[in-house]
């Protein structure tokens, strides 16, 4: 036996042999065997064991006895928990175990020093994360979480670490039942369940307004007390233990610990950005559960991987169908007859739930409040906004088929241009269009699908109705209402206007709005807010699409008066008018200062009345940023835009109309201060977003390709710029949405890049393509047109085709005479290139006179490092040398 020997002897021999080579070791052993046979036995036995044992203890006890350790937490061990009772944790004493959450045990606790008499809930937080990191995050979040004072949110009092560093938080103790259990125990009716649910939505919305996303909503976090008060627990706590990047590899193990997969949203399971929309998804799951008595997916019988796939695909059955297909033993039986329940769920409730649970965040309700409103509409028997998927799908398919650009539709001829400045202005307009349409999309879709249903396509198989057919049909059927029910007619006409607008027929839209307005003026008392609504839309058409003869400003002022009288100054609908006034000053009047003042008013009101992440507010702030920059304070504009981006990154999904647009705007503003590298980053993100949202063929995507190419060119990355502009040209070439003529500027841009790369023939080809597509009758006075002429003129000078250059530049000069809306920098360029042409054709005196005349202006208008200025100075120097 080992202990019969001196271990030191054994160890000495072991060391000698382990140090020795194979042959040498054998010799040593042989020698030992001869001198001390017993010691030899021991040493050689250990050496053999060393060979055989391998690394039998290499796994630590946790892997070695994994099943045993696992069993430690099993049910058989539960009684042991009582031994933790009375344990002191910081200044708290554990009284009773309340439960086991995803993050750790929760105990009922009391203060040891009696300084706080109420019992609290003490929740231990365990995660794969360092404790110090959890505490650091808690300190960051503390101010926000602590400020969530709401009667339906369990208060958060304190946090600390126990003697071993384990973090815990102290929360208001809520003596209640998890929501589904409460519903079951109290045999709540469908209506009672819905009412409880609206309370939950309201509470979640409150938290969202305070920039807190729950992230881990589930029944154990939604308690209902005996008196029926809902209390939401653990707001924002999940964030304390979530990995920063949320990459899937982090999610697989640790993330699953903190949320039960059944309530997790697709974006959480995919490790994508979590937003308020995530909570809305989970609200949908919870509503599904309490209304149907069963979870959306057969969670129990699915493997985790299957469940995750099912959730990400969004392949759940309608609640009404699932109630039928699930045997009674596997679901809670609501206190009503099954057939009646199915009938109740079918239609609106199915639609509401599935809309909340849409796998793409953008297709869910925009806010918890919107979800709440829809449920309330259902309770009141009003039509809900949620529509069955099929109709929405039909509508969208329909629009695609008709190539009617829902998103980009405006014709603002006077804004089309090549220069970055003009381009920026345009996008500002489009952003507003996008905003309006985001708001209206839901209504229009609802309205359109209503028409679809009315048209009953199954009745006329094989006939494909166009959007126009349907809307005209709508117009016809509405006319019958005009005399019978003028108020309904006026409302209907308003919707028709929106629908016409959505498919891009602005004349029809204006007509509908006017009908709505006139009818309302006739039947409603002066100053009625509905009149203001119709008026607002008509003025909007007048302004945005330059239609009609009436000055939009007067109309907006009238809307403003009515709404102020009716709602007071601090109301979102008043802010909406200020936004439009801002748009009007900025675009029609080119008065950035006035625009900025209007936006400031709008933003001030919205700050008080909307949640910080509200798209309307973000868009108004974005407009303000742009107007501020255009009014001369580019730096301040960029600062404001950065704030907008920071908020939207926090609260809006990555692929969101508003988000990608603001990213674009940020890129444009940065371009103005020559921060091209940074601008490029934003534009790339924006471009990716547009591609994701609208696809590669949408005109928006094409415009972003063009903008990005310009930035690349400014960074002198001309070859990449050409790749981008080629994408833009491909996109625009047969794009019926390109009503504003983006294609010509795109060719001209490509020409510029080629010119910069000294490929003059190719440049000419593109200039001609671009210029050739412009109609002089329509665009002859437009900066884009003369810029095309300038580009050709400059090129011809470079190619020593001086006569042609002179001719084409004279043409440009004539345009300045004919049209007042000229841009001084364009005119300078024309004169400069023409003078060069003269210089080479012997008219040196004329040329010299022009150079002398324009030199101060060029030096004033073009920064030292701008290409035009450099070219000019270089030219002057070479002249002197001659």
């Amino acid at each position: 036996m080992g202990n019969a020997y001196n271990w030191d002897d054994i160890e000495k021999w072991l060391d000698i042999i382990m140090d020795a080579g194979a042959g040498e070791a054998a010799e040593h052993l042989e020698k030992l065997e001869q001198t001390n046979a017993e010691l030899y036995e021991e040493v050689s036995g250990l050496l053999q064991a060393m060979d055989k044992s391998g690394d039998f203890l290499e796994q630590d006890a946790f892997s070695f006895a994994g099943t045993l350790i696992q069993d430690f937490g099993s049910d058989g061990n539960k009684q042991d928990e009582s031994t933790f009772q009375d344990r002191e944790v910081g200044p708290w004493r554990l009284k009773k175990k309340l439960g086991m959450g995803g993050m750790g045990m929760v105990w009922l606790a009391e203060r040891t020093d009696g300084s706080f008499t109420r019992d609290v809930a003490l929740k231990f937080i365990r995660s794969g994360m360092e404790n110090e990191e959890v505490m650091r995050r808690f300190k960051n979040e503390q101010r926000i979480l602590g400020s969530l004072n709401h009667p339906n949110i369990a208060g958060l009092y304190d946090a600390g670490q126990d003697e071993f560093g384990l973090p815990y938080i102290i929360m208001e103790y809520v003596d209640g039942l998890p929501l589904p259990e409460y519903c079951r125990v109290n045999k709540l009716s469908l209506e009672q369940r819905l009412r409880l649910f609206t309370k939950i939505c309201e509470t979640v919305h409150f938290a969202h307004q305070n920039l807190v996303v729950h992230r881990d909503l589930k029944p154990s976090n939604i308690l209902v007390t005996a008196d029926g008060t809902v209390k939401l627990l653990d707001f924002g706590i999940a964030k304390l233990v979530e990995s920063d990047d949320g990459k899937p590899d982090d999610l697989t193990i640790s993330r699953m610990q903190f949320m039960s997969a059944a309530y997790a949203s697709p974006e959480q399971l995919k490790g994508e950005r979590v937003s308020t929309s995530t909570d809305i998804y989970t609200l949908g799951v919870i509503l599904y559960e309490i209304l149907s008595g069963v979870l959306p997916y057969a969670t129990e019988s699915m493997k985790p991987g299957e469940l995750i796939n099912a959730i990400c695909e969004g392949s759940t059955e309608k609640p009404s169908r699932r109630v039928r297909s699930t045997e009674l033993a596997k679901r809670e039986q609501l206190p009503m007859d099954l057939n009646k329940l199915v009938r109740e769920l079918q239609g609106d409730l199915d639609n509401i739930i599935l809309k909340a649970m849409a796998s793409e965040p953008a297709r869910r309700y925009g806010s918890a409040e919107a979800l709440q409103n829809d449920v309330e509409r259902y309770l009141k028997g009003e039509p809900v906004h949620a529509r069955p998927l099929t109709a929405a799908y039909l509508t969208s398919r329909f629009i695609t088929r008709n190539k009617m650009p829902v998103a980009l539709t405006t014709i603002l001829i006077f804004l089309t241009g090549i220069a970055l400045y003009y381009h920026t202005q345009q996008l500002e307009q489009e952003r507003d269009t996008a905003r309006m349409q985001a708001e209206r999309a839901e209504q229009v879709a609802g309205f359109m699908s209503g028409i679809f249903e009315a048209a009953n396509p199954t009745a006329n198989p094989g006939t494909e109705l166009t959007a126009r057919d349907l809307l005209e049909r709508g117009d016809e059927s509405a006319e019958n209402l005009a005399t019978g029910n003028p108020e309904l007619y006026a409302s209907f006409m308003l919707e028709m206007g929106r629908a016409w607008e959505a498919i891009g027929d602005y004349h029809k839209a204006l007509e509908s709005y006017e009908k709505s307005l006139h009818t309302r003026r006739e039947v409603l008392p002066d100053g009625h807010p509905d009149i203001a609504t119709s008026l607002f839309h008509r003025a909007d058409m007048n302004m945005r699409y330059v239609l009609g003869e009436i000055d939009p400003e007067e109309q907006f002022e009238e809307v403003l008066v009515i709404r102020r009288n009716h709602f007071g100054e601090r109301h979102p609908s008043v802010a909406e008018v200020y936004v439009n006034l801002g748009d009007m000053h900025g675009s029609m009047r080119q008065d950035s200062h006035a625009a900025r003042d209007s936006y400031i008013r709008a933003v001030n009101i919205m700050n008080e009345t909307l949640e910080p992440g509200d798209r309307k507010l973000l868009n108004a702030r974005s407009s303000l940023a742009f107007a501020t920059a255009s009014a001369g304070d580019t730096e301040a504009g960029i600062r404001l835009m950065r704030e907008v981006i920071a908020i939207q990154d926090e609260v809006l999904p990555e692929h969101d109309e508003a988000v990608v647009f603001n990213l674009n705007n940020m890129g444009m503003l940065l371009g103005r201060i020559n921060e091209h590298e940074e601008a490029y980053g934003y534009l790339r993100r924006s471009l990716d977003g547009y591609r994701h949202l609208y696809g590669d063929d949408h005109l928006y995507t094409g415009i972003l390709y063009m903008t990005t190419s310009q930035t690349l060119a400014r960074m002198e990355r001309h070859e990449e710029a050409i790749a981008y502009i080629d994408n833009a040209i491909r996109n625009m070439e047969e794009n019926p949405a390109d009503t504003r003529g983006y294609l010509h500027p795109a060719y001209i841009h490509k020409g510029h890049y080629l010119y910069a790369m000294d490929q003059l023939d190719e440049a000419e080809e593109n200039y001609l393509k671009g210029h050739g597509q412009m109609d002089p009758a329509q665009l002859g006075g437009h900066p884009a047109f003369v810029q095309g002429l300038n580009a050709l003129g400059r090129l011809y000078v470079a190619q020593q085709r001086y006569e042609e250059a002179d001719e084409i530049l004279s043409n440009a000069m004539n345009r300045y005479e004919m049209h007042q809306r000229v841009n001084e920098s364009n005119r300078l360029q024309t004169r400069y290139h023409q003078a060069r042409a003269w210089h080479y054709t012997g008219r040196t005196d004329d040329a010299q006179a022009v150079f002398t005349d324009i030199a101060p202006m060029i030096r004033e208008n073009f920064p030292k490092d701008s290409p035009d200025r450099i070219e000019f100075e270089t030219y002057l120097i070479s002249e002197e040398q001659e």
Partner: protein
């Protein structure tokens, strides 16, 4: 929010470690008890969590909770060594206690039930192994305390070879070699006892 009190609590461990250094055996027992309670607390908590994720990841989390949670900054090597030795003892104690309980339960059951379930079978095997291993380790401690401590730190606390080298002031090579010896000794012992 007041975290100063928890700091004072964390100081409790430091105080006990200081007393241990001064040769106070009561402090050793006190710290053992603290660690023992805490480990059981953590184990119960981690393992009783909502079922999700697979077994291994959960035991890994327990492991992490057991030994990586205490912030060792500012605690000197000697004290750390004390702490880890005490922790290993506590960990071993918890495992052996639980294994004995499981084996006692098994004896109370009808035999055929034992073979019904793979997990149950594995549980019994592991229970026996951990008890035998623990006994063998006690014998090793008599033969050579250094090797036994190494098993404590490596097997029960789960420190890496490098951690142990730093902690004991040895070279990594020495630690590795000692580890081979310790494993061989235990293996031989377990074989000789016919398990």
């Amino acid at each position: 929010m007041n975290s100063s009190i928890t700091k004072a609590q964390a100081g409790e461990i430091t105080v006990q470690l200081l007393r241990i250094k001064e040769g106070d055996d009561m402090a050793k027992e006190k710290l053992y008890q603290m660690v023992y309670d805490h480990l059981r607390f953590i184990a119960t908590m981690e393992l009783g969590k909502e079922r999700a994720g697979h077994t291994l990841s959960r035991t890994e989390l327990v492991h992490e909770s057991f030994f990586k949670m205490l912030n060792m900054d500012g605690i000197d090597w000697e004290d750390r060594r004390h702490f880890y030795r005490i922790s290993a003892r506590a960990m071993r104690q918890i495992l052996v206690e639980h294994a004995r309980k499981k084996l006692a339960q098994k004896r109370g059951e009808k035999p055929e039930r034992v073979t019904l379930h793979d997990d149950r079978l594995k549980l019994n095997e592991e229970s026996e192994e951990i008890i035998v291993l623990s006994d063998a380790l006690d014998e090793l401690r008599v033969v050579n305390e250094k090797l036994a401590e190494l098993v404590d730190l490596r097997f029960f606390v789960g420190l890496s070879m490098q951690d142990i080298a730093d902690l004991t002031g040895s070279s990594r090579r020495t630690v590795q070699r000692d580890w081979s010896k310790a494993q061989a000794w235990l293996y031989k012992k377990l074989k000789a006892d016919g398990t």
